[in-house]
Amino acid sequence: MAEMWINMGPQHPMTHGLWNLRIKVDGETITDAEPVIGYLHRGWEKMVEDRRYPQIIPMADRLCYGSSFTWSHVYCMAAEDLMGVEVPERAKWIRAMSDELQRIGNHLMWLAAIGPDLGNLTIFLYAIREREAFLDLFQSLCGARMTYNYCRIGGVRNAAPPNWERDVLRTLDYFEKRLDEYEDLVDRNKVFRMRMEDLAPLPAKEAINLGFTGPTLRASGVKYDIRHNDPYEIYDQVDWHMCTADEGDTYARYRVRMDEMRMSVQIVRDILKKMPKDGPIRVKPPRTAPAGTGFARMEDPRGESLIYIASDGTDKPFRVKVRSPLFVILSGAKVLLKGYKVADVPSIMGMVDVCMGETDR
């Protein structure tokens, strides 16, 4: 049969962002795939070379709008590494707690996005509703719904508001009950499972070779999580375990993300229990950084995010490098999609949780 190229994007309901997936089809079977990115490229790495260090924090928020806190967090950690700033103990706990709340919010956005793709609009409505509860928490913490500008070099901007602990626990109790409902709704849905099970299984060796990180890698049975392997902030003092699955197929990627939401709930509860209730939350960082390099990496909801800063001794960075997890995962689209049908594309590419803001930078 004649082979042809099909463009899925840039305006396509499957893409969840702005990119173009070109697939070569032989009838219904995909024989080749090529992601075309760059529709959101705005020269982030070049632009921040003209910003002072604190001015980069809101820009880092807009790197990935789904999980903006984690990106400003990893930037602040890199800048602290460069400047040699020691973060107060309490700020570390607040940052880790915000990370986990952000992880839940981001995974809920992912769940809302894949639901309509796989023919389940109900889960979109439910997940968006629960995401609003977490956005409300962030709003009471720092005043913004999505782009927080909350992390600071040397701490966080402000302490938690009064009744913060009560609000968080109340939201988590509510959310845990809802999470059980989702699993009933999705895991027992035969259509949903038929479209996910045994789809695009990726052996652990191949996932490592492709450079995958995050839930996509852990679904292949690799025990690799930066919170565990290279603990930053306070993750070595918190009671948690890594969520993995062995099958490596699309359903396993779904399961790992759902388990991570549950685990994040447990981590936040544990943090609230162990967190110091008073103390400084911020130290003043120097205005200019010494010449040298700073480096930080952390577990983003999508994988390993990394920022590397080179400084020449002024108040602006000389070079900033961003390592985006999705940039690497999208390059494996050909491996993931080859041999499957066109109708499988939304479930395979939806499960990697595409966010183009960080990919194109």
Partner: protein
Amino acid sequence: MDLSAFPNAIAMSAKEFMEWSTNVMDDIVRATGVKRALDKTMDPLLNWGVRNSMYPLHFGIACCALEMAACSGPRFDNERLGLVFRSSPRQCDVLLVNGWVTVKLRPALRRLYEEMPEPKWVIAMGECAISGGPWYDSYNVVQGVDTFIPVDIYIPGCPPRPEALIDGFLKLHQKIKKSKIGTFMDD
């Protein structure tokens, strides 16, 4: 073509006949006051229908796309205003530009705009779509959508809250209400 003396329909091509008959009909409709009567009934009716069933294009670009998704969620529920996000530009009459437009995206967005049927409106949502926003010194971001497509409503914010998005759509309601969208013939 002067056909007033002796209009010979056989000598006319189909196109000429259409033109001639339209002119005659127009004159009659205008002279007898039928046009005014039709405008008085059709304009409010069509206007009401159009402004209460605005279908924005489901086209997520950047941060504001998440607020667009939140707006179609249960809390803000934009379907009560008749806003249903459709995936094909052929079915839409509002283009919601929610994010920065890069040089690579610009031809695609222009084409999407041209694929939409008339009447159509454009909403620039967020600072990036209005004026480039935080990417004001970027080499690859177009500084405002209105540099290449006409924009009707601007919604400031980075990103705007869903309430602001709904308010922008209500402003568009008012704009459509003022326009003579359902008039029978052009004057």
